[in-house]
């Protein structure tokens, strides 16, 4: 009965349901999904796989509803890595078939039973040089220093790995002592600049805020800054203590296209697929073989060229504490 009701509730959202033989890939939209369609889905279909219907944006509530209703219409979904770990434990995901997906070639940081990396990215300090002609910010401490670098700063709005880590690092916590996260300390640090924060909800907004000078400094997905540079805008980037997080590819439990879904993930995480995607987006490949296939000039702009000054957000920690941190995060924002 419960399942019927969920199915009814969902029915209105299923207008995009695909033909039986097609599969559906869901991601976050924008240039990222365009690249996923061009460099993963198109070659997959060309090599004899089913047609891939693009859907989106990713919505965790919808995934849960689909799985519980037994009416899964998303076959492969791009999700945040920490959510993938949590959802795997909660029974919302199919275990991945590693006889189809070759995990020996993948960066072990981004491989788990229910999820493999989709790509990985860094949160980096970025600024608009027009607003800071005299001195350039260099460290995360500068990002929180409104005396030295006045003006609004922009940060990612949603509860996710990145901003809390940045606050702690800026406050002097050593990278290897970040976890377990000292939330009290992080929010205290964030409180010092709260009135100056403009939150960005999506990549396009973060670019607009920086380019217009509305928020001349902030904490960005590295690919979005590369895209601004590619458009000819002058953007300052500091990779010092860049914080990595990743997206994951997952298969919601109960999909009817499980076999095709696994093959799609194998194609998406192949050395070629990852290299082409990375070149198009500025995000780093999770396949260890991709580097050799890429133009060294492009590789130098990716997060995997910055491992020496990199801090890895602890996805397992986030998966275990996602709800607790999220509730505190949103409550703090609303205060």
């Amino acid at each position: 009965m419960k399942k019927t009701m969920i199915a009814l509730a969902l029915a209105s959202g299923l207008t995009s349901a695909a033909h039986a033989q097609d599969m559906v890939f869901t991601s976050w939209g924008g240039t990222t999904q365009d690249a996923q369609a061009a460099h993963w889905a198109a070659p997959f279909t060309e090599k004899g796989g089913p047609a891939v219907v693009q859907d989106g944006p990713t919505d965790y509530g919808k995934i849960k509803a689909m799985v519980e209703a037994g009416a899964v219409t998303w076959d492969v979904v791009d999700v945040e890595y920490d959510w993938a770990l949590q959802a795997g434990k909660a029974g919302l995901l199919e275990p991945l078939d590693f006889t189809v997906i070759d995990k020996t070639k993948l960066d072990p940081r981004f491989v788990s039973d229910f999820a493999v990396g989709s790509f990985y990215y860094s949160f980096v300090l970025g600024w608009n040089p027009a607003n800071f002609p005299d001195a350039s910010p260099a460290t995360l401490a500068d990002l929180f220093d409104t005396a030295k670098f006045p003006g609004k700063r922009t940060f990612y709005k949603w509860s996710a790995p990145g901003v809390i880590e940045a606050a702690l690092l800026a406050d002097g916590v050593a990278p290897d002592a970040l976890y377990p996260l000292d939330l009290d300390r992080a929010f205290k640090k964030l409180d010092t600049i709260k009135a100056d924060i403009i939150w960005w909800e999506g990549g396009a907004q973060s670019q607009q805020l920086l380019a217009s000078g509305e928020a001349p400094i902030g904490f960005f997905w590295n690919g979005r800054l590369s895209a601004l540079q590619a458009d000819g805008m002058e953007v300052g980037i500091s990779w010092d203590q860049n914080i990595t997080a990743a997206d994951a590819l997952v298969v919601p439990k109960g999909t009817k296209n499980k076999e095709a879904a696994m093959k799609f993930i194998a194609e998406a995480t192949s050395a070629e697929g990852q290299a082409a995607f990375a070149a198009a987006t500025g995000y780093a490949p999770v396949n260890l073989g991709s580097a050799d296939l890429m133009d060294p000039a492009i590789r130098a702009t990716l997060p995997d060229a910055q491992t020496a000054v990199q801090v890895n957000a602890d996805m397992a920690y986030w998966a275990d504490h996602r709800d607790e941190i999220g509730n505190r995060w949103y409550a703090w924002q609303a205060q």
Partner: protein, 278 residues
Amino acid sequence: MFSAAAPRRGSGLGFAMPAILLLAAFFVIPVVFLLTRSVTEPQLGLQNYAALVGSSTYAKVFFNTFFVAGVVTLVTVLIAFPVAWALAIMPARWSAVVFAIILLSMWTNLLARTYAWMVLLQQTGLINRMLKAIGLIDQPLQLTNNLVGVTIGMVYIMLPFMILPLLGVIKKIDPAILQAAALCGATKWQALTRVLVPLATPGIASGALMVFVMSLGYFVTPSLLGGTANMMLAELIAQQVQSLVNWGMGGAAAFLLLLVTLGLYAVQLRFLDRKEAA
């Protein structure tokens, strides 16, 4: 097929059946389902409601929701009334053009309109630059990420919903009544407050209720123009359902919002009934 001799009783209900079925399938059942979840997740009980009522953060979000909706409604009425009045007394050819402009804004994508306001209102935006250029201000005004931003963005979206019902009512007012008021010695202000506004009250009331209720559930505009300090209930619900996948809490918040909305509607119905009876 049915002749005029067919029994008439219940035939109205028959015509309403498709609508009733549609509402039952796509509104009532999901709402019941959401309500069930709000008292069964994570376990059976009222813990979600207790958390909602007991937390100062959620209390603030509730307050924001009603406060913002109230401010938006008030400003919308104040702007819509003169517009509707002007439309009613304008030559028909002009009013058709103005009317088309008002309707046209409703056909543009909400997100696009909200982004447009962001670009206009932000500190480096068009409005601030213009004010600076003509020397009215030295420092840019803070027009986004606060109550000002939400109000501007939402009033703009809500105006047609206020103007339309107002126009319907005002058009029915006989202009001779105002002439009569003037002949009896009423000043323009008296004619407005004692004659025009009371006669337009049903339109104001129904428009205001619609605007208030729609504002209560608004999500995109407050989130983009209001900043997190003005977080409204709809955003809290979206966070709980989409980001935290906590349907129990999201359901509880949604149900409280629905309850309040229905309550307001009931009050208005009663208020209008009494008006009409009087």
